[in-house]
């Protein structure tokens, strides 16, 4: 090994030490900002994984919501029937008292007729 190479090696070691010392005494504000940046990068990656993983799940949930909405919004047969009855009731010319006593009349109708 020549004298010059030895000097180069020594010089490079010194340079590394000086650079390391400088980084060790880096402005705390800068060090903090770097730390935050690192955390944000790692958090971003975590969120990306969480978002990307259950794609099938989000599709299933979306489909379920659509089905539920359709079930609630599309009028069922029973609802239609009730609606028609209400309409009949409202448009009827019968006395309101008749309807108030409707249950009684239904009961009466259900009774076996007496002979005679």
């Amino acid at each position: 090994m020549t004298q010059n190479t030895l000097k180069d090696d020594e010089f490079l070691k010194q340079a590394k030490r000086v650079l390391d010392d400088d980084v060790a005494t880096l402005d705390p504000l800068i060090a903090q900002r770097l730390q935050v940046a690192r955390r944000q990068a790692l958090d971003g990656a975590t969120r990306r994984h969480t978002r990307g993983m259950p794609q099938w799940l989000s599709s299933t949930v979306a489909a379920s919501v659509l089905v539920a909405m359709a079930w609630m919004l599309i009028p069922r047969e029973a609802d239609l029937k009730t609606g028609m009855e209400d309409l009949e009731l409202l448009s009827s010319a019968e006395d309101l008292e008749f309807y108030e006593n409707l249950e009684f009349y239904q009961w009466l109708d259900a009774q076996p007729s007496e002979a005679g």
Binding site: K7, D8, F11, L12, Q14, A15, K16, V18, L19, D20, D21, D22, V23, T25, L26, D27, I30, A31, R33, L34, Q35, A37, R38, Q40, A41, L42, G44, A45, R48
Partner: protein, 168 residues
Amino acid sequence: MAGVEKRAYRTALLATRQRDEALDIVQDAMLKLVQSYGERAATEWGPIFHRILHSRIHDWFRRRKVRSIVGRWWGGGEDDEADPIAELPASAEIEPSAILKRHDAMDALENALKLLPWRQQQVFLLRVWEGFDVAQTASVMGCGEGSVKTHFSRAVHALREKLGEHWP
């Protein structure tokens, strides 16, 4: 990544000489590393991170060059020419306490490094500070191993000449 970020910042600062630009570059490189290479083994992160970092610094130089050319076209004239004094960090960015604390040896080395062409600066930091071998450095810099050796030899020669025998 925790141990690398400060050296990365210092590397970017040496190249850009602007604190916020350096921070943006490091943050961008970290994001890219985690987003695109997060699945790789942690042992591979070092060289990959530096490849991204140096690519970002290179992009920064290119953007600055384009801005300078466009500025001249649109009537900026001589005012938009790269001015070495204007490129120095703004006085507000130099905190008195930091200046006092900073070691003379680092000041001298930093000033000498700033005088080197970017490729020599880059190869010196990768070989000496990051401890990359010639092949790894060539991979990070996207050039041949012969080119790395040449740049490194010139960098060491220039730095020793500038710093003198009695440094540090």
